[in-house]
């Protein structure tokens, strides 16, 4: 549905986006993942028709968007990171204004506003003034505003930022729901915020695609072996001897010792969780927990998305 060919964007002499190429199929959810300043917002703003590219082309279907920008903007709903709201308006007035501005006819406007509010769960707030909306409801209204003219493409810049864990779960479900009728492109700088939501993740670093694929594909490609976090009860020297004697472990590190309870991080080439549990019990240690560290994949992506300068800075600080 969308094809991006050689997209380049300069701000003055600074190159924010470099020769970007990717494509998105209809009804896919695609996530741009990268650190702040990686170029995600610039890419999204160009896709939304807010900014002009310095070079390259974007095609929606067979039509280059710069050939008819007005027609392109009719097909797009864009939500910036900071939800743009007119505080004096009510939810209904805001959506009706945007609907009219984007060509929704008077006959279908009322029904469209109601269905959008229903879909994002703000139906009870139709007559609430925008200045009185909470951050979470503001984000939901922002999503409703992208839907009101029923566009083919929905672009969400950091839709999950600033939401609490419950709202994040709700937003993920909402994004999944949107992909039934729309193609969705969204951005985030934190992998776990968009994990299990996107059909495809584009890792952006310094305006370029550093990696692309599904979360599982990226995980397999960039995490070698397996990392485990082990918590057990036992004397530290005995635990060290035990872990040193395991040939299947490529490395281990004792992270924390609290009385007789130790936490260690282990690395291995293969999946050794089951046999390790058996061996720990056989050795007489009290096994308390064995799990994959939740930040393992995140850390890999952080390394992937950080530019050489940032890595260098971190090393210098260490």
């Amino acid at each position: 549905m969308i094809r991006v060919d050689g997209l380049v964007k300069y701000y003055g002499s600074h190159r924010a986006v470099s020769n970007l190429n990717f494509s998105v199929e209809a009804n896919q959810v695609v996530g741009l993942l990268g650190l702040n300043g990686a170029g995600k917002t610039t890419i999204l703003r160009i896709l939304a028709g807010d900014l002009e590219a310095s070079a390259g082309s974007i095609y929606v279907g067979d039509q280059a968007i710069n050939k008819d920008p007005i027609a392109h903007r009719k097909q797009v709903g864009f939500l910036p990171e900071r939800v743009p709201l007119y505080p004096q308006m009510t939810v209904r007035e805001y959506l009706e204004f945007l609907g009219r501005l984007r060509g929704v006819t008077a006959a279908e406007l009322g029904a469209r506003v109601l269905s959008c509010c229903e879909r994002v769960g703000i139906r009870d707030h139709l007559d609430t003034q925008l200045g009185a909306l909470s951050h979470g409801y503001g984000k939901r209204l922002g999503i409703a505003s992208t839907l009101v003219h029923n566009p083919k493409l929905i672009i969400l810049d950091e839709p999950i930022s600033g939401l609490d864990p419950k709202q994040i779960i709700g937003m993920r479900a909402l994004v999944q729901d949107l992909s039934r009728d729309h193609t969705v492109i969204l951005s985030s700088h934190i992998l776990r915020e968009i994990s299990r939501t996107c059909d495809q993740i584009l890792v952006i670093r310094e305006g370029e695609i550093a990696a692309a694929g599904t979360e599982d594909e990226l995980s397999k490609r960039f995490t070698s072996g397996q990392r485990l976090r082990l918590t057990l009860r036992g004397e530290e020297s005995l635990v060290r001897d035990f872990l040193s004697s395991r040939p299947e472990l490529s490395s281990f590190e004792i992270l924390e010792v609290e009385g007789e309870t130790l936490t260690a991080e282990l690395e291995s080439e293969d999946d050794i969780a089951e046999e390790l549990v058996v061996e720990i019990v056989k050795a007489g240690f009290g096994l308390r927990a064995l799990q994959s560290p939740s930040d393992a994949l995140e850390a890999t992506f952080m390394e992937l998305t950080a530019g050489p300068d940032e890595n260098h800075d971190e090393e210098a600080e260490l």
Binding site: D50, L51, I70, V76, R82, Y86, Q88, L101, G103, S145
Partner: protein, 241 residues
């Protein structure tokens, strides 16, 4: 309803729903009323035509100030609050956005100007003035306001915030007001050109006296068109930066 009228309506509502619009109207009417009593009516007997001429003279000042205050928010406020992106990603051209915002500010300014009507009508009741003089004067005020709102629209389109927008439009308007002084110290044909740029001296004074010249109409309409064109192009250029 076309996107232009949708935006025009929202812009007009923005003036009517916030205290700013009413405060500006109140200040303009207060100053006009004070000047009308103390300056135009004055003490002793005066010719009705002179009173009306003086009324249009000081009303031009309040109209210019109101135009700057009303137009400074048009783009700069939306840029500050982040809502400009809603317009930039909607299927509406830069020209339509500029025109809708300019038209809303001009309509509101026209509404404020019309509220001053009781003052000259008072003169009409007690004295003798021609309807033509009144119409020409108000047309002059409207055209002057139109040019100043267009200058303000352009300033707002290029400025990052409302204060900068107000400073830029004030600077442009002061330059155009003072152009006749610059014309005095330059040689022809440059002096003739600069003299014709003068916002008030050359082109507004005939309206004050109830005279209508096509050259003055053309001047104000050209100035309006020029600055609206600049505003449109600067809005378009911002998509590249």
């Amino acid at each position: 309803m076309s996107a232009f009228f949708v935006l025009l309506r929202r812009e007009l509502q923005a003036f009517l729903r916030t205290p700013t619009g009413f405060v500006i109207a109140a200040i303009v009417l207060l100053i006009d009323g004070l000047l009308f009593n103390s300056f135009a009516l004055g003490v002793g007997k005066r010719l009705s035509a002179d009173v009306i001429r003086d009324f249009f003279y000081f009303s031009s000042g309040t109209t210019i100030i109101a135009a700057i205050l009303l137009s400074m928010k048009l783009f700069a406020e939306e840029r500050q609050t982040g809502t400009l992106v809603l317009l930039r990603t909607s299927p509406i051209s830069e020209g339509q956005v500029v025109l809708a915002k300019y038209a809303a500010a001009l309509i509101y300014l026209g509404f404020i100007t019309l509220l001053t009507l009781p003052m000259p009508l008072l003169v009409m009741v007690h004295g003798k003035i021609s309807i033509g003089h009144l119409c020409a004067g108000y047309l002059g005020l409207f055209l002057l306001g139109s040019a100043c709102v267009a200058i303000g629209t352009f300033s707002s389109a290029i400025a990052e915030n409302q204060m900068v927008a107000a400073i830029v439009s004030t600077a442009i308007i002061v330059f155009l007001l003072m152009a006749w002084m610059l014309a005095r110290v330059t040689e022809p044909p440059l002096s003739d050109f600069i003299a014709h740029l003068a916002l008030f001296d050359k082109h507004y004074q005939p309206f004050m006296r109830g005279m209508l010249h096509s050259r003055d109409l053309v001047y104000y309409l050209s100035l309006t068109y020029f600055f609206l064109l600049l505003a449109t192009h600067s809005s378009r250029l911002r998509r590249w930066s």
